[in-house]
Every structure is written in structure tokens, then in C-alpha cells.
């Protein structure tokens, strides 16, 4: 399978703090790749660095064969990478419809089709189309954030902790939606909820203290109790 995204010995700082020490992994086309690790390991920073929101001090980030390290975020986004940030990044004063309008780079038959598909997947968004984003529930905000990233023809979605702070029933819905998207786009997921991650992930990368320390098939990790305890604190 082809590598869509490849990080090679990436290092990054936030202000004077050295957060990413050595991040290397590749994301294969058509798969859900999961970044795992404890709080503060550097998972969110990795996604932000891929997106150009943090600068790379060393190493390369190759997307479709082109080095995108330290490119501007809007250029990276226009190459076909979508971000669903940890805080969802909803424009609180804009309605659901307006949030979608800002996200849609162009309105054509393809984007209309994708919009219809995503509204079918998340009927709440259609129901609350004229409601300000800030007034949605946590789950609805997450759905809006995912829909906004999906509505364009992005080949890669970076999704940061989609289950965070959501009720179990909503987590199920979000999990189901990511599973359905999997057929149409490649996903790099950061997730603390191992149950969710193991349900949808094909491969995993464990980040510890700013370094990728392990990777492999998700099926193998499910049975490796020692690794889960050491790096994820799951016993």
C-alpha cells in the first residue's frame, strides 16, 4: 500500500520547550492510523506540526512525495489535508450552515454530494442548520467539526481526540461515522479512548515523550497487554 504521509525524524518546539524529539511514521492510503500515548506525549503537537500550525525544527514531513514541513497551514490544507482539532474549533457565533460555508472551498456537484452525504450521516446538523455553533451540544459540535473537514475532497483527515468529553452513546455515533468515512478518505486519528481506537484503527503508532516508540497492526496491540500497560496505562 502507498504511503500518503511520511514523517521522518521530526523535531518541534513550542516556544522554548522541546516537545517532539524524534517522530517517524508513515500513513498508508485508505487506512485509519491511530496515534496513541499518554497525556502530554506529543500527539496533538504532531498533528498541529503536520498541519503547519507548529514549525518543524528538524526532519521532513512528506505528503504525496512533497516535503510540506514548515509550509503555511492554508497551503497544506489546500493540498488535501483536513483538520478536526481537539477543541473542535467551531465558530461559535456562526450558524451550522455558515460554519459549513466557510469550510467549503468551492460549491460544485461534488461538494454538494459530499454535503448531502455528511448531513445524512449527521442528521442533527441538518436539524440545527440555522442554530449558532456555540449553542450545539458537545457531540453536535464534534459532528460539525468532522463534517467541516470532510465536506472538501480531502485525501487525509487529521482527527484529534473525537471522543473527548462525549457521552458513550455519542462516542458510538462518532465511531460509526469515522468508520463510514474510512472508505472514502485516509485518517490519522489521535485517541485516548482505546476501545474506540481499536475498533476503527488499522495500524497504531505509540508516542512517548515526543518520540515514536512502537508501531504495528492494531490487531496485534489488542493482545499485547504488556505494551498497553507500559505506554498507555491500560491494564
Amino acid at each position: 500500500m502507498n504511503s500518503l504521509l511520511k514523517l521522518n525524524q521530526v523535531e518541534a518546539y513550542i516556544n522554548q520547550y522541546h516537545i517532539l524529539h524524534n517522530i517517524s511514521f508513515d500513513v498508508r492510503e485508505g487506512e485509519v492510523n491511530v496515534l496513541l500515548g499518554r497525556n502530554g506525549a506529543g500527539k496533538t503537537t504532531t498533528l498541529r506540526t503536520i498541519m503547519g500550525l507548529n514549525s518543524v525544527s528538524k526532519g521532513t514531513i512528506t505528503y504525496e512525495g512533497e516535503n510540506i514541513a514548515n509550509e503555511k497551514p492554508h497551503i497544506i490544507a489546500n493540498k488535501g489535508i483536513g483538520l478536526v482539532p481537539e477543541d473542535q474549533g467551531i465558530f461559535a457565533d456562526l450558524t451550522v450552515g455558515e460554519n459549513m460555508s466557510v469550510a467549503m472551498k468551492q460549491e460544485n456537484a461534488e461538494s454538494t454530494k459530499r454535503l448531502e452525504w455528511v448531513l445524512e450521516l449527521f442528521p442533527d446538523l441538518k436539524k440545527f442548520w440555522r442554530k449558532p455553533g456555540g449553542q450545539l451540544s458537545g457531540g453536535q459540535k464534534q459532528m460539525l467539526a468532522i463534517a467541516r473537514a470532510y465536506v472538501n475532497e480531502n485525501e487525509l483527515l487529521l482527527i484529534d481526540e473525537p471522543s473527548k468529553g462525549l457521552a458513550p452513546v455519542v462516542v458510538e455515533k462518532v465511531t460509526e461515522s469515522i468508520q463510514q468515512m474510512k472508505d472514502q478518505t485516509t485518517i490519522l486519528l489521535v485517541e485516548q479512548n482505546f476501545l474506540m481506537a481499536s475498533q476503527i484503527g488499522d495500524r497504531f503508532f505509540i508516542i512517548d515523550n515526543g518520540e515514536t516508540v512502537h508501531h504495528g497492526e492494531m490487531e496485534a496491540l489488542k493482545t499485547d497487554k504488556a505494551m498497553m500497560k507500559t505506554y498507555l496505562g491500560i491494564s
Binding site: 500550525l53 503555511k72 492554508h74 457565533d93 460555508s101
Partner: protein
Amino acid sequence: MDLLFVLLINGLATGMLIFLLAAGLTLIFGLMDVLNFAHGGLFIWGAYSGVWMYHVTNSFTVGIAAAIVTGLVIGLVTEKVIIRPVYGNHIQQILITLGFMLVLQELIKVVFGPSQKAVAPPAFLEGSFMVGDIVLIKYRLFIILIGLVVFFVFAYIFKQTRIGLIVRAGVMNKEMVQSLGINIKLVFMVVFMVGAALAALSGILHAPYSGVIYAEMGLEFSILAFIVVIIGGMGSFKGSLVAALLVGCMQAFMAYYVPSLSLATNMLLMVIVLVFRPQGLFPVKG
């Protein structure tokens, strides 16, 4: 009753001028997080360049167009040369924009001369008319009309067009806007230029209203604009209109009834808002 109505019209006209100045300021702060103390300099350059063109061509419309073009050009240069190197640093922004404000002010004296200039309204806006017993001054109504047109045009742009939505979204979350593939720096530049053009428009409209223009008036007026931005809520266009009309009317009434407290009342209003509603009357949600 008639007097109250006349004072109200005066207040609304002053308020609209402050609104035009404050609207650009609030957008620049809300979207770009830039404290632009040079905004008053764009106001005076709008006034002087517009009046110069008005006198040369004898057309007030051409004068207004010249002021707007001057605002756009100075806005472009200011954003690229003065503001861009100090994004994200408020202390540097205050120092450099305040310094640039003084440069713009002194350049007015170099280019147009140090003395005050008298400006009369164009013939078609001179004089007044009566509605019942109330005297309505044409030029003041003209300012109110222009202010309302600007407000509704921008309200339409912000609500109905994608570029307007992008600006509003950028005020709330710049990183997310960039992550959606939008060149936020280009948006910053356009917003800065439009804000500067609004300040320049305010300047040229102010000239026949006060009857005289002078280089120092930019600083005086920009203090009122800052008060309005704080009262209305940083980044809120609607807040700027409401606050500007409030400040304009308070100033008009206080100047008539208790002239010595005129400016102090606006400061007091700002203090009250800061104490009870520090985010302003119409805060922008992040």
C-alpha cells in the same frame, strides 16, 4: 421637545462619524489582534486628501472617493510595513503605531501646511429644512444616511457573503480558518485596508461637519473610537454602531446641558461597562 430632537440628530451624526472610525478599529483588533493607534492618522489623511480634491474639483463626491483611495493606499502600506513585523506583540504595536500616528500627523503639516483649513459643505447639502417646528440640518442627515448605508452594506457582506463569513470566523478562531485552507494574511491585509478606508471616509465626512480641519484632530477622535470599541465589544461591528450612537448622543446632550462634563461622561460610561460587562455590550464569542 424640539430641542431634544435637534440634540438627538446632532448626537446621531456625531455617533455615525465615530462609528465609521471605530468600525475599522474593531475589525482590525478583533481579527488581527492589533492595537492600531495610527488609526487616527488615517482619519486625518482622509480628511485632508478628500478636502484637497474637493476644493480642486469642486466635487464633494470626488473628494469622498479620493479620501477612500487614500485610506486604502495608506492602509496597505501601514499593514505591510508597520504592522506585519509586530504581529502578536501588543507593546511593540502600541509603540510603533503611536509613533506612526505622529509621523502621519506631522506629514499632514508638511504636505498641506500647518494651519487649519476651513471646509464648507457642498452646495446641495448646505442649509436646513423644517419638519413642523423642527429644524433639520441637511449635512447632519447626510452623515446619518451614509453611516446607515455603510452599516447595512457591511452587515449584508458579513451575513450573506463567504468573505464576510471568513472575516467573522477569523475574529473567532484564526488558526481554524487557516486550517480550512484560507490565506488569513491576505484576509488581514484586506480588512486592514477596508478599516483604513472607513477611517478616511469618516475624516472627509467630518470636515464639513466641524467646518475646520487640523492635524491634531485624528488623535482626539481616535480616543472616542477606542472608547466605542471597548464599550461595544472588541471585534463587534454591531457593538461599534450601538456604542458609537450612545457616545455620540451622550456627547451631544452633555455638551448642551453640562458642557464641562462632556468627555468625562464618555469615560465614565466606558468605566461602568468595564466594571459590569468587561467583554463589552456585544462580545464576540471565541
